[in-house]
């Protein structure tokens, strides 16, 4: 059980700043997801907490105690690394029991057997126990890695994209399994992913990391509905949010004067006449016969319950998700509108959400 705090942490590799002024406070027992594109510094953050790297500046605390100088084994974290780090010469069983055999834990053989059996059952790898790890598939390796973490009772679980190599079905099952595990154990989880669906479905809170900076920390709902800037808005949500540059004029959004104008609801304080980026989620766009803007259907992707329609207005493309039963053909002429209340406003230069309600 642990609260993990990072205060003003920066990490510089040579002349490359991987993390800049990171402040993070993960509550005891929280399922915290760190979300960000590749190279954002997610792995670096985990390694700092695990003690495999030392911060260039800043403080790392567990339960209020500074642990900057503690060795990895003192920190008592369980880490699932992004690249599988299974011990290649050992069987799956020996891999799972390896952490329990260390001098700091020194578990009895009976306890080891029991915990290994439990982990293997949870992760459905019982049939693999006596295999060598170097012949396992990527997904099997990942499950063994997770198993090696959950045989212990660490302060905190650090997981670096542990589900990235699983097929869709298994991934979904493992999401539930991990979430269950976390609830049952009540242990703090720090879960790294670049998959926003994973983040949204699993996280109590999400931290969005980009270029070594924490863009926003909040609940999944908060991140989705109230993103702090255009990056967060664009990174979270699938299909991605539509971002349209334009201006506000007389309470209307002007994207292309004359042909591409839409009504707006409540306006942000600033910004009449200034360059603004309008953000609208695909589910908040509606294809209706009396809609204010004419468009051509560029593409239709069917996902079963819904279909994602790409609309073309001049050179601009927008995506709308509409129920699957509505018949839409490619190159068809349609009209559409949006829900004015759902429109987000981002500063045209900085990308900051100027209409954010906090």
């Amino acid at each position: 059980m642990a609260r993990i705090e990072l205060e003003n942490v920066s990490k510089v590799f040579g002349n490359h700043t991987a993390l800049k002024d990171l402040d993070l406070d993960i509550a005891d027992g929280e399922f915290f997801v760190l979300l960000g594109p590749t190279g954002a510094g997610k792995t670096t953050t985990l390694r700092l907490i695990a003690g495999l790297e030392t911060p260039t500046v800043g403080h790392i605390r567990t339960n209020g105690t500074e642990v900057n100088d503690w060795s990895p084994s003192q920190r008592d974290v369980a880490l699932v690394l992004q690249q599988y780090s299974l011990y290649p010469r050992l069987t799956v069983r020996d891999n799972l029991s390896f952490p329990l055999r260390s001098k700091v834990r020194n578990a009895s053989p009976a306890e080891i057997a029991e915990r290994v059996a439990y982990a293997a059952k949870t992760l459905r790898i019982e049939h693999l126990l006596d295999r060598k790890t170097d012949r396992l598939s990527g997904g099997e390796m990942q499950r063994v890695s997770i198993g090696r973490a959950i045989v212990r009772e660490p302060h905190v679980f650090l997981m670096d994209e542990p589900l990235s190599n699983l097929d869709a079905k298994l991934r979904e099952a493992m999401r539930t399994e991990l979430k269950d595990l976390q609830m049952r154990l009540g242990t703090t989880f720090l879960f790294v992913t670049h998959d926003q669906v994973e983040a949204m479905t699993m996280g109590d809170r999400i931290g969005v990391l980009n270029h070594g900076r924490l863009e926003q920390v909040g609940t999944p709902h908060d991140i989705y509905r109230n993103p702090r800037n255009a990056f967060v808005a664009g990174f979270v949500g699938s299909p991605a949010i539509n971002l349209l540059s334009g201006r506000i004029n007389q309470g209307r959004a002007i994207i292309t004067p004359g042909s591409f104008e839409l009504p707006l609801g409540a306006l942000p304080q600033a910004a009449t006449g200034e360059a603004v980026t309008f953000g609208i989620r695909p589910e908040d766009l509606h294809i209706v016969s009396g809609g204010p803007v004419a468009a051509q259907v560029h593409d239709v992707e069917n996902y079963g319950t819904e279909q994602v329609v790409t609309l073309r207005v001049g050179a601009t493309h927008l995506r709308a998700s509409v129920p699957a039963q509505i018949a839409i053909r490619v190159e068809e002429q349609v009209r559409f509108g949006w829900l004015p209340d759902k429109v987000m406003f981002f500063d045209g230069q900085t990308g900051v959400n100027i209409g954010r309600t906090v």
């Binding site: 695990a50 003690g51 495999l52 084994s73 690394l81 690249q83 599988y84 011990y87 001098k103 700091v104």
Partner: protein, 318 residues
């Protein structure tokens, strides 16, 4: 362009096989020569053209392991109570000495051979152990001036050994290390360790750090992680490095010739010393050489499984 028909492929394969056979003949011919000469009667050793068919004899080996000693006047040899090796020697060889007053004793070869084994094995072990630990340090930790250190280590191999032989000899004599096992061991270890560091660094660099990091997080110390994780993974590299170091130490001639003369003399300077004056007996030289080749062959054979993977220089499967 570039289409390879199966006929062309077959031709290519056949050509490759022929080339392998030719290469094998070239490489194995000297070994055959040594091996066959070691069993030839003395008068057939130097015939031109070489004699291929002959009745093999063990007399060269008998001569290799024996020496004739002139008995002092009145000296008696108690053949019945002689040690077993002397009995073997006497039974297998000719009763010698024209005057009949000679005695046959064990030659210097076995002890030189033993010296070679002691020196080569010990120095190989030391060089590989030190090289592995040093390479691990260079590979895993930030070392100030790493490039310079590594270059310095390598640079110790750039000087031809003969250049330092005389000063080394004087130094060794001053501290009493000449003609000692320790002296040769230190010398060969120092000589091989630079090589071992470079070779092992390549192998250890290939072992993902994640393995050790996982062990650290799992509650092990760095030393434990090194023993339990890194060493088993580096076995291939260690085997390859050990073979190279062993061959170098085993075959070393120049220093052994200068630094040793009796007690700690190794086989390489001893074998040619047996050429002696007068007509050299090439069969004895050949038998000594043939035996001398064996340890390296055995050592390499024992490590062959590791070597096959190790010779591709650190291509460890992730």
């Amino acid at each position: 362009m570039g289409t390879v028909t199966s006929a062309q492929q077959k031709l290519g394969n056949r050509l490759a096989n022929v080339m392998i056979v030719v290469a094998l003949i070239v490489f194995l011919a000297p070994i055959y020569w040594i091996g066959s000469t070691a069993f030839k009667p003395r008068n057939l050793a130097t015939t031109v053209p070489p004699t291929i068919l002959f009745t093999p004899e063990v007399s060269p080996f008998v001569k290799l392991f024996t020496k004739r000693v002139q008995l002092k006047p009145n000296e008696k040899v108690d053949y019945d109570n002689a040690p077993w090796w002397e009995k073997i020697v006497i039974d297998g060889g000719e009763r010698i000495s024209r005057s009949g007053k000679g005695e046959v004793q064990l030659s210097g070869y076995p002890s030189r051979f033993l010296n070679s084994l002691i020196v080569a094995i010990t120095s190989t072990f030391l060089a590989v152990a030190m090289g592995t630990i040093t390479a691990y340090g260079f590979s895993r930790f930030k070392v100030a001036g790493e490039e310079d250190w590594l270059f310095f280590i390598l640079s110790t191999r750039m000087l031809p050994p003969v250049v330092v032989a005389i000063p080394m000899f004087l130094m060794y004599r001053a501290v009493g290390l000449n003609d000692t096992h320790i002296g040769l061991i230190i010398l060969y270890t120092a000589f091989n360790v630079s090589f071992a560091v470079w070779l092992m660094k390549g192998f250890i660099d290939e072992i993902p750090r994640e393995y050790e990091e996982a062990a650290l997080v799992d509650g092990y110390t760095r030393m434990e992680a090194f023993w339990k994780i890194v060493l088993p993974e580096a076995a291939t590299g260690i085997a390859a490095t050990a073979v190279f170091c062993f061959i170098t130490a085993w075959n070393e001639y120049a220093f052994a010739l200068i630094m040793t003369n009796r007690k700690a003399q190794t086989a390489p300077p001893f074998i040619p010393s047996q050429v002696g004056s007068g007509l050299p007996d090439w069969t004895v030289i050949a038998s000594g050489t043939a035996l001398f080749l064996l340890p390296v062959a055995i050592f390499t054979f024992l490590l062959r499984n590791h070597l096959l993977r190790g010779m591709s220089f650190g291509a460890i499967r992730k």
